[in-house]
Assembly symmetry: C2
Homo-oligomer: 502 residues x 2
């Protein structure tokens, strides 16, 4: 048995190799979404599959086995080091998956993304259904290889949110459904008093980018270690903390789509840029979970930059870039415009209150798909029924219905709940930030975001994956996950915007 | 021993993995030159080094050894298949180099590039000399690990141009020197009759791109399987034939820099897009040599698109994009403008005739350095003497002299001759194309390039690396490499441009 020091070195050598391969895979994925010529899809799928297989082989091979067993045999000492502990955890999770399954899944996912794009452009779910069925079978196989107590779906949920079960989400989601209904009912009589018109004017694409980029910079995103590009669907990806890539899309008649899209991805990007540098090229340099990652984007997107104080500072800047569009507008107009509550068809365009209904809908469908209670052929009908039930909305076609999201095409079953968990975590974090920085609203009104970023860096970002999301939330709030903070935040926000009380 | 069929499958499996890793490495390199944020350099170097090491390990490992020995033991049958033969050749070439030497060389090269950049910016060769000495010692060590008959330098030359020796180049280069001198002497009295002014006007960057891209498309480059981007130095890279990336740079006061840069890279790109699809993801899907690759770019750049006929077709198109700049210009004006002959200090700015002198100078220096006949300390003086002797030019400083090229800093000794070999091959190919397509000049005058591309596809591109450059030239011309065609082409071109005869 090696000394702890030499064991650490061996672990790091192997981890660096695996992380470099993963980084290269992420570059291939980013390139595919941004600049890759369309005719290259099939070969790109092969390349991604080859690299994923190699990384998997290294994480599950003899060398990894021997390192993991050495680490375990000195658990008392080694598990204090998150790098060594996560090596064992990730190794053990990976050996559960047969190499052949990993290869088939990766290849199918890569192809499915192209088919999804085509199906969406033709608004025809039936084009996507066959490969989606294949993917679901692969994911069931994967779930069976992993560990779960209650339902197969939990095994997938846990990939993205360690320690959470569908069972645990049910009462939380019930309360969110109830409070959302209460808010929608309350604003119904006064809904026409608030308008999003200021955001829905004609805004030139290149100026939208300029404005959004400026806000991202002010939030603290380091463009020396990152970029912003255009894609069909906005995302954030990171190769190391020194290379974090954001993307957005632009609608010329809707400033919010690009602006808040960029702010959202910047929130993710700040998390990725904020890991403790000692964790670079290790398994620790990653978000604690999808929910924790979403809390970082949503905190900025839905809370901080949708305050009236934010617009006190941002409107004069916006006026310089868009002088005509901002004539006569006040910070309060902007505050109202970006906080209208209005059930909508498209998840990514939803307001922060009704958004959770989109997630609950998807959660129920994917849970039932994976647990085998429904099949892909049920999706369009169920989707449309639930949209009607939860949001009172008629779905006109598949493109705007069950084909709107990319997630299932990349095999991200179990991913969606993270968005709502992110809202719950963000509300809990925001309460702590207000306690820690008493003049926070005044700082925001002056475009000062550095003390928020410092707080996030120190309390969340630096840790990376060294703590589980539940541990982070416990450490910073003293409490466990709950919807309570979000619900009271939602009542307060809706009350302030629509002049009502709950 | 496996059957030939199963041996082929094993070989392909391993080759696909290695080629996919190489493709990913090329994506990382392309990204670094195009879109990567500057702060990511150090991590990108780690990623590239990790992937290169993995590919090398796979090509030299136990599995590769056993496959290679199986292929060799059935040589009579297996060597007919270029995929199997090249696997053995590349494996054998790789195992010759000790891993330690590869690592030391790669590290020294990486350092040398930074030092070269600094030395060039300070125009001080003495800063670069120590690490260049180290690099030369490593390259000598590498040459000794490889095989050569005559001189150590040949071992390095053969990496880029299989089967060529310095001995063979000497009489060819002597004749090029003589004919170049003859041309320069002849045009001296009339050199002011021809002007490149039409290309040196103000040309808007985005319109230069539009025009260049249009020409690339007309040449037959498939943008469904490729792209064109901006970089500091133009290049062409390919991940498979389905994803070929060209880059260019733009000078707003010099249309030729972008236009002929794009045409040059498009020539490379057409070669890469033209390999027989059965060779995809194998070692055969590559150019036969640097010289053969250069012949593809130079054929288009210096021969086809610098004919008067080309400008008969291209000038009206250019006039639509640049109406003001083209007022009063004729095809003959353009023909003259893009064919001026004028000795210059900088290789990459040289015309097609004097360019070879830059190569001969570098060839003589690097050959003598590797064979130990001179030392790095002799470089600046010898460089300046040869510039004076071959081109009549005084070198004002090291930055514009012996520090102008990046090649030696990345260890590319033996690379330069490929540029001139490309010219010789291109002239030989052009003669065959004229025989095969009698109305070729009329086709060019109508913007018809498809029969040229068809000829190249059928006679050169499809083969990839399945034939050595000497075999390709022999097959298409019936002759061996010679400077004769280039020399007579050069006399004819210079004669036509300057109204003189030889």
């Amino acid at each position: 048995m090696a000394t702890i020091e030499s064991l650490k070195k061996q672990t790091l050598d192997l981890m660096h190799t695996i992380q470099d391969i993963s980084a290269a895979t992420s570059v291939l994925n980013w390139d595919q979404e941004t600049y890759m010529p369309s005719g290259a899809s099939a070969m790109r799928a092969e390349q991604i599959s080859t690299l994923s297989t190699l990384a998997h082989q290294l994480l599950t091979g003899d060398k990894a086995k021997s390192i993991a067993s050495d680490i375990i045999s000195h658990k008392a000492e080694t598990f204090k080091d998150p790098i060594l502990r996560l090596f064992v955890e990730d190794h053990e999770e990976s050996v559960k998956l047969p190499e052949d399954l990993v290869r088939r899944t990766s290849k199918t996912q890569s192809l499915a993304q192209d088919i999804w794009k085509e199906a969406r452009s033709k608004s025809d779910f039936s084009l996507f259904a066959p490969i989606l069925s294949e993917l679901i079978e692969l994911k069931k196989e994967e779930a069976d290889c992993r560990t779960y107590v209650d339902s197969r779906y939990d095994a997938l949920l846990n990939i993205f949110e360690p320690g959470i079960t569908a069972e645990q989400l049910n009462p939380i989601f019930d309360n969110l459904r109830i409070s959302t209904k209460k808010i929608l009912d309350a604003i119904e009589p006064v809904k026409h008093t608030v308008s999003d018109a200021p955001m829905m004017k004609q805004y030139e694409a290149n100026k939208q980018m300029e404005f959004s980029k400026l806000i991202a910079e002010k939030m603290g995103f380091n463009f020396n270690n990152g970029r912003l590009d255009l894609t069909a669907h906005p995302f954030c990806t990171s190769f190391t903390q020194y290379d974090v890539r954001l993307t957005t899309r632009i609608k010329e008649n809707d400033l919010a789509s690009c602006l808040y899209g960029v702010i959202h991805e910047t929130g993710h990007g700040l998390y990725e840029q904020g890991f403790s540098p000692e964790y670079t090229r290790t398994f620790v340099a990653n978000g604690a979970s999808i929910g924790m990652h979403e809390s970082q984007s949503l905190l900025w997107e839905t809370i901080i930059t949708r305050t009236e104080e934010f617009w006190h500072w941002a409107l004069p800047i916006m006026s310089k870039i868009f002088p005509e569009q901002t004539i006569g507008l006040t910070a309060k107009d902007m505050y109202h415009a970006v906080n209208t509550i209005q059930p909508s068809l498209i998840r990514v365009e939803a307001d922060e209150i009704t958004y959770n209904m989109h997630i609950i809908l998807r959660f129920e469908l994917e849970r039932d798909l994976i647990n085998g209670n429904i099949t892909v052929h049920d999706i369009p009908e169920l989707w449309n029924l639930k949209m009607k039930e939860y949001l009172g909305i008629q779905t006109p076609n598949d493109a705007q219905g069950c084909l709107q999201d990319i997630h299932w095409s990349f095999g991200g079953f179990g991913y969606f709940p993270g968005y709502t968990l992110g809202k719950l975590y963000a509300a809990m974090e925001w309460k702590e930030i207000q306690k820690a920085i008493p003049d926070i609203y005044s700082q925001i009104a002056h475009g000062e975001f550095s003390s928020i970023l410092d707080w996030l860096r120190k309390n969340i970002h630096a840790y990376g994956r060294s703590e589980k999301p539940g541990e982070i939330i416990k450490r910073i709030t003293g409490n466990s996950l709950s919807e309570a903070e979000f619900v009271s935040y939602a009542y307060a926000k809706a009350g302030s915007i629509y002049g009502i009380s709950f």
